[in-house]
Symmetry: D2
Subunit: 283 residues, 4 copies
């Protein structure tokens, strides 16, 4: 079994030595180590360690307590220790476009995405049968700018305690700051453009009108500012004057599902750390 | 010898038949044919024909006159007929960064870019020796927002009648609307971002601050609106949290020179047609 | 409604003129025209025309007869005229890996792949329920080098007259020359490498052992020579020393399904022409 | 000032702890750390540490001695410690194609490639003036299968003690096993194909004849077996039926110079480790 230790702290000499010595002493065999120090001064330090738990001299929980006492607290670290055995619970919000949702469900069913999917919520009933054919509960919560408050209350009560991550797989409703706050750092959206180009509505139409030669898709954490949260991943495809808006949408569907699936997987494998409005991705 | 016929007209049935029948009757052997109709109504039709001139029953000039009389004028076409033997004269404007300029000079010297380069103009003297080592005249014209009028007058007098195309290979001064008008459709700029993201100053810094995972470069025709002219080509490269602003700049240099060289070559081979604020590229 | 005219003939002057004049006279409005002449002498000429049928002065069938009489036969053309209304019937052969098959089924169900899928055949029973959940018949035909003859006879009797195209979506059995001959030019395979590198068995293992930095997938027509038929499309992804064989396989799954879906779509839209051991793709 | 410590040893627990504790005790501030363990058993462990030398309690040389005594020898490591201040001496061998050579010279002149270039050797005199215009000595050593022995003897006497790395920038002569042995692990070649596809002569012609849809270039260490040494980097570009062999060569030139420049930079920054016939690249 593998476990992951994620660390963030003020940069200073000796962090690697302290952490790796601690793990070595307790019998953890490090199989992957990634780190990053930001350039600005004072710098911030980020680290991700993946280790085998077989040789540990303590149960994982007790290892966490020991780490806090011996390293984490003395060095002023924020940290998180999680076993690969824990599966994240990922709820999906979607409207009518099914491609990004289905990509997640297929990857999940095939075992390529090792998470639990307790629930799919949509503001339209259309995708219910598709979702339920995967054995996943589907909840229809009508939503509009007028009914937002009630709709979000229903969604919160369905999600709270049930979901570690909320994925917006082309959910075409704006979420209120209150909702975003409640799941801060735990909502991932797929935006159908190469942000920051073409933020806002109908980005493929915007891209077509601007005559770009490349279109893109962006997976990002949702913050109070629309389409401005920390970017996790992006991808692009070449287009030409021959492509209609509809062609861009079709190309984009492939980009969106690929980028979103990758971002969700990275998040659930504890590979993404947020720093200000940017991400560190230990992929 | 090859020649190229470029056509633009209102879309209607029978254009291909009229043009190809005309060329066949005069002994032109078509080796490449590309066309495009815009989607909006009424549509606009664009065509590029490349043909061998060996079997022509008329000199190329006379063929043009015959085309005007028999096809072009009756069908209301804008058209242009040019022999590959004609080399475009490409002048380059540059400031201090040499990478995009040198790429053009190298491609030209090696014969990969079949044009003449009559002149390089810079607002700094630094690159003079490099340029002159290629046997290309170098003109230093100091420029700033204060001295723009006089500087542009000097440049115009050096360029007028000498250059079919003006290439801004990282020329860091804004050109006045008057200058742009005078060379309308004949000024290509390389912008060091994936437009429309990060228009304006220091785009690599902007990209770094936004935390994008892909950076790009854009070659476009210059119009009165800064960074908003028709896009000819774009390219991108993946980046990560590990890349500093300086790393983005280094990656960007490779993108910029590649994208600009491609755009200049396409323009000089009559492969680019402008339609509104977009381009048709018959590459 | 659109129709497509595909042409192949010996290269000679006047082909475009003859074909476009014929279509113009009969009221066909050409919306897309693509052509290619091979370089070798004597050259071969290929053309794809897409036109609107609304203004035709004849039914499509009669247009074909007229084309044969007036253009096709006099100019010694091989040609094919097909309406977009005709849907190709695509049968899929698969073993145990479901990703390439499911991509086709999803694209088909969503309307992105406009074909009929009359049948999926597998040498294993495993994927039956998945296939049938799409409402597509599933036929289990055990196959091995020992039982090939009987297995292929069963498949032929199920496919003959039922399928215009046979897609090998990771079908892990070699087909006999007799089978391949019977469906000559109508069998597309996805090979899980960047051919011609790593032909044969377990290409991801071969790629891993060779230490390549990029892996790929290749869609090609099946011929009597294993993995050597005309290539329709390829795509690649970057890998590093960090990627295990299993990681290459996971990355490859994404490449395979994308490349195969694209190749099948192009084939069914009459965009692929075979010339010797190469393809002309009018994409 | 930065220094780099490269380590290779049998995998075992405690390596990171031992190395990072040693560096911390001596005042080295680690700014970059990358590691890799191979999957096979027993595994091999690779590590690259980049650290600031300002706070060291010892001169760099003495630090090396201390590392050997305290960590390297006890743990059975192969290691190498080098300051960024040391510039590698890179000699280039070339025939008639100048693109890959010029890319290196330009990057070097512009400061993007921080090495010394003591010498360029060619079996043709053609590129002498170009090379000398950069202020780099040029040596013409005619070479052919008949004169190989004498030619290599002349090259060895010019290179020995003068070059840390020998780069074959399209050097079209085969080197003898004796020559390769003498510079084992220090000769980088650019092969103009996506190896292992199209090893051997005229790979663009081979690629054209096979009808591939993507072409590539490969930078690799030279070993006794032609085109079979450890791959450092590869890159690819899309092609179509429209591209002639000459078009593939032109596209390939861009790939070759980009891939080779990257591989040389990585090698000179101590980012490449060879393991069997594969590379670990800490890029």
């Amino acid at each position: 079994m593998h476990a992951v230790l994620l660390i963030r702290c003020a940069d200073r000499p000796g962090i690697v030595a302290a952490v790796s010595t601690f793990l070595f002493r307790h019998g953890a065999n490090v199989v992957d180590l990634d780190q990053h120090s930001t350039e600005e001064l004072p710098g911030t330090y980020f680290m991700r360690l993946e280790f085998q738990t077989e040789g540990l001299d303590l149960p994982l929980e007790r290892l966490g307590e020991a780490f806090a006492a011996e390293v984490g607290t003395p060095m002023g670290m924020e940290w998180r220790l999680a076993s690969h055995a824990e599966r994240r619970r990922v709820a999906v919000l979607v409207s009518r476009h099914d491609h990004a949702l289905l990509e997640l469900l297929w990857n999940w069913k095939r075992g390529d995405l090792r998470v639990d999917i307790p629930l799919v919520i949509s503001n339209h009933p259309d995708l219910g049968p598709s979702v339920e054919s995967f054995g996943v509960p589907f909840l229809h919560v009508p939503n509009s700018s007028a009914s937002r408050e009630g709709a979000e209350a229903r969604m919160v009560s369905a999600l709270e305690g049930q979901a570690d991550l909320v994925v917006l797989a082309r959910y075409m409703q704006v979420l209120s700051p209150g909702f975003v706050d409640r799941f801060a750092g735990r909502v991932i959206n797929i935006h159908h453009s190469f942000l920051p180009a073409f933020a806002g509505a109908d980005p493929y139409r915007q891209a077509y009108d601007r005559g770009v030669k490349i279109v893109g898709a962006t997976a990002h954490y949702v913050t109070a500012v629309l389409d401005a949260g920390p970017i996790i991943d992006q991808d692009v495809a070449r287009v030409s004057h021959r492509d209609s808006v509809e062609d861009l949408r079709a190309l984009g569907r492939d980009l969106e599902r690929r980028v979103l699936a990758r971002a969700v997987r990275w998040h659930c494998e504890d590979r993404v750390l947020v720093h200000g409005n940017k991400t560190i991705v230990f992929s």
